[in-house]
Each structure stands twice: as structure tokens, then as C-alpha cells.
Amino acid sequence: MPEAAIEIKGVWKRLGTKEVLRGVDLAVQRGESVVIIGRSGTGKSVLLKHVVGLMDPDKGSVCVNGMDVPSLGAVELLNLRRQMGMLFQGGALFDSLSIGDNIGLPLREHTKMPEAQVELVVQEKLRLVGLEGAADMRPSNLSGGMKKRAALARALALNPKVMLYDEPTTGLDPITADLINRLIRRLQERLGIASIAVTHDMRSAYHIADHIAMLHEGRIHAVGTPAEIQATRDPVVRQFIEGSSEGPLLPT
């Protein structure tokens, strides 16, 4: 069996007094798109941060492209991260830079690309997310949806092999959300990018996932293809995907 792009084994993480992750196992193959669903506060974003090495597990291992992320030194980690892109919940665009400079920053920092070519790549990435002509705008002048698309363009600047999406469609209008979903799907199909997306948006999950995993009480409660998840009889998963306030999951 080929080596998985992302392999998470028995990860435990405690934040403050709460055990957020309690033995998470998850593998993502090359070119595969996995969506993690789960209620707010179950540690979905925390899990993503483990994959990029922004957090280290208390127990367990996280491997990306065969490299054990927590044991990497600072330089190796920075090198590994150049092969990864992450879309943050709020976009996390650098507000001291224009949109074009945001997208150009990783190129200018990590490649010896001539300036004219950087401009071309910036234009190309902006076109990809449907934001032509926004290069000179400031992040503070963009709407939430535009910020997210600009952030996606930035995450794609270095043509990553692994993409992580933290709530890619939350807070977007349905049309923009669909644009993002199609884009994520296209990237994965054309470029064979392995990806993990964290979302509450079931429409988006069905659209972009090869597999859906539900994080519940610090563990992966269920994994399946979108069809399997839709057909499941598991009461926890059923309640979540139907969005009902009645069932084993109590409103918090």
C-alpha cells in the first residue's frame, strides 16, 4: 500500500484542563479529500493545527509525506510547510500588505522567481478564485467571501501537495460557497492534492469529500464515503447531518 500523504495515529491533546483529542486516527491518501465534520469545540481546528505543526500532540504521531511532524527541527518544519497550504477560518490575510503582495509573499520569500513572473503567478491565482483585478486592494476593503478567496489564492501560491481548509465555506453566500467547493474539488482532481477540510456545512462536505470523518468526543466516531454517511443509522452521525437538536447530542 502506498504511503499516505497524511497519517494521524493515536493523537491526544489536552488544552487547559480539557482533553480535546483523545486518540484520533486518520489517514489521507495522495489525491484524496477528507472532510472532518463535528460540532463546534470538538477540536477539528486543533487537529488541523497538528498537521501543520502549529501544535504538538501530547501522545501519538502525525506524519505528512512520511515525515513525523512533531519531531522535525525548525528548518525541516519550515521546508515541509512549503509543500502545504492552509486556508484559515477568517482568511488570516496580512492586513499590512495588498492582496497581490499577500499572494506574492510566499513566492518572494521562497523562490528566486523574477518580479515579472511573481506578478503573473499572482494574476493567475487571483483568476483561479475569481478575484481578477483585486491585486491592489487592501484586505480591510474586502468582504468576508472575497477575503476567503484571496486567502485561498495565497495558500495555493506555491502549488502545495497538501491542502488544509478550516471551514472554507462558513459565512459565505451559497453561490460563493459553491464556487469554493468546485474549486477545491477541481484542485484535488486535477493536481492530485491531498486535502483535509473541516466544516459544519454538510452541503459542502458532500460536494468535496471522498471520505467524511466525524470527530466526536475526541475521537473519529465514524468514517465513510458521503453516500455511506448519508445512509448511516448511527444516531450521533444522523443527528448531526440532519441538524436536529433532538437526539444523543445535547445542545451546548
Binding site: K49, V52, L54, A74, L78, N79, L80, R81, R82, M84, G85, M86, F88, Q89, G90, A92, L93, F94, D95, S96, L105, P106, E109, H110, A151, R154, L158
Partner: protein, 267 residues
């Protein structure tokens, strides 16, 4: 095991405060180490350093100069009051020159710039931290220490001595104006006194202090900014802590450097 001892000790307040202090000090030293290792990369990103030099140095100029002008003025008033009937007024220029160059120029400049720049660095980096911009930067494989901290550190360390030179000149000029126009001291008496016992090493000692004050201001702003958490309130707290810590450290380091420079180096 160690953790249990630390936790148990840490529950009593004097230990808790001490542990917190040691932890902060340790973290600042680690950050300082990373910054020093990153200094060569700062010269590669020189435009970022220049940008910060403009913000920290040129931006602080009006405030620092107004403070310096009045510092010199008040030094003249106070010194002449103390001198009256006891000390010849020729020493007015001497005492103003020396106190400004050695102490008042570097320290007061550092305190006001520390308030202005330390707060702005902490607020900027703190906002970047809570809006995940720092995480995004690290995720792109760009070191936040090298990209954000090193340029600020270099800029503050270079610009504080420059500001201090201007502050020294303006403060002495302020003292001169007050002496000549309100204290009946002739311009010649003042300038002769200024030249009396004037040593270049006094100026240099002030500039050496200013360099270290620049280090402190940038380090405190960056340290508290980078570790802020929890939204607007966290950023506010980080800003306050950065200013308080840099003011305290400026005064403590001022004492230590004064002891070293005047009791050991120039003794």
C-alpha cells in the same frame, strides 16, 4: 515528577509570581537567541528594516524632540534654583550638558519611545496573533521571528541612538534658551560651561545605553505581542504589559549599565 513539584509550589502565590517571572525571563531569552541568530536574515530583508526605521525613528521624532526641549528647559530652571548663591552660573551649562547627555537624553527618549513604539509593536503583533496571521505566516514556511521581530529589533536598536543624539542637542538647546532668556545667564557663559569638562565618552555611554534601550523596547513589544491570546482583550493586555515591562527594564538596565560604564569601563 518535576511537573508535580512545580504545580504544587506554583499554587502558593509568592512561588507563583516567581515562577511566572522566571518563565517569562526564560522565554524572552529564547526569543532573543532566535532574534540574534536571525540578524543576518534581517539584512537580506533590508526594506522591512527601513520601513520599521521610518515608523520607529522618524515617526517618534516630534514626540521625542518636544520631550527633549522641555527636559532641557526644566533642567535649566531646577539647576539654577539649586545653584543660586552657592555655585557660579558658569557651571549651569556644564551640569545641563552632562545630565542631558549621560542620563536625561537617553532615558527619557527611551521611556517615551518605549510607550509609543512598544505599544504599537505589541498591538500590531498581538492582532496578527489573534487573527491567525502569525499562524498563517508560519504555515507558509516563513519564520515570524525573522520576518516580524528581527526587522523591528534592528530598527529600534539603530534608531534609539539616533533619536538620542537629536534629543541631546534639542535638550541642551532648550536649556540654553531658558538660561539666556529667563535666567540672566549670557550665551557665552552657558556655552563656556558646556565645553568645560565635556568628554566624548559621556556621549558614547549615553548612546550605548540608547542602543540597549532600543533592544528592550523591540523585544518587549514583540514578546508580549506574539504571545497574546483571546481577542481584543488579550491584545489590550499585551500592549499594557509591553509598555510596563519596557519602562521597568529601561530603568533597571539603566542602573546596571551606569554601574558598568562608569565604575568599571570608564573608571
Amino acid at each position: 515528577m518535576d511537573e508535580i513539584i512545580v504545580e504544587r509550589l506554583g499554587s502558593r502565590w509568592p512561588y507563583r509570581v516567581l515562577l511566572k517571572l522566571l518563565q517569562d525571563a526564560g522565554e524572552v531569552i529564547i526569543l532573543m537567541g532566535e532574534v540574534i541568530r536571525g540578524i543576518p536574515s534581517g539584512f537580506k530583508r533590508f526594506p522591512l528594516v527601513v520601513q520599521q526605521m521610518l515608523l520607529i525613528g522618524v515617526g517618534s521624532m516630534p514626540l521625542a524632540m518636544i520631550v527633549a526641549l522641555f527636559t532641557g528647559a526644566v533642567a535649566a530652571v531646577q539647576a539654577s534654583y539649586q545653584f543660586r548663591d552657592y555655585v557660579p552660573m558658569i557651571y549651569l551649562g556644564t551640569v545641563i550638558g552632562k545630565s542631558v547627555v549621560i542620563e536625561l537624553g537617553p532615558v527619557l527618549t527611551a521611556l517615551v519611545v518605549g510607550g509609543r513604539v512598544g505599544a504599537s509593536i505589541a498591538a500590531e503583533l498581538g492582532t496578527m496573533r489573534v487573527t491567525e496571521q502569525i499562524d498563517a505566516m508560519e504555515t507558509m514556511g516563513i519564520s515570524s521571528v525573522r520576518y516580524l521581530v528581527v526587522p523591528r529589533f534592528l530598527a529600534a536598536s539603530l534608531m534609539l541612538p539616533v533619536l538620542t543624539i537629536f534629543a541631546d542637542i534639542v535638550a541642551i538647546f532648550g536649556g540654553f534658551l531658558v538660561s539666556v532668556f529667563t535666567l540672566d545667564v549670557s550665551a557665552h557663559t552657558f556655552t563656556s560651561g558646556l565645553r568645560l569638562y565635556f568628554h566624548m565618552r559621556d556621549v558614547f555611554s549615553g548612546l550605548i545605553k540608547a542602543f540597549f534601550f532600543g533592544n528592550i523596547i523591540a523585544m518587549m513589544g514583540c514578546y508580549y505581542g506574539l504571545r497574546s491570546e483571546g481577542g481584543a482583550q488579550g491584545v489590550g493586555l499585551a500592549t499594557t504589559q509591553a509598555v510596563v515591562a519596557s519602562c521597568l527594564l529601561i530603568l533597571i538596565v539603566d542602573y546596571l549599565l551606569a554601574s558598568f560604564l562608569f565604575r568599571v569601563l570608564f573608571a
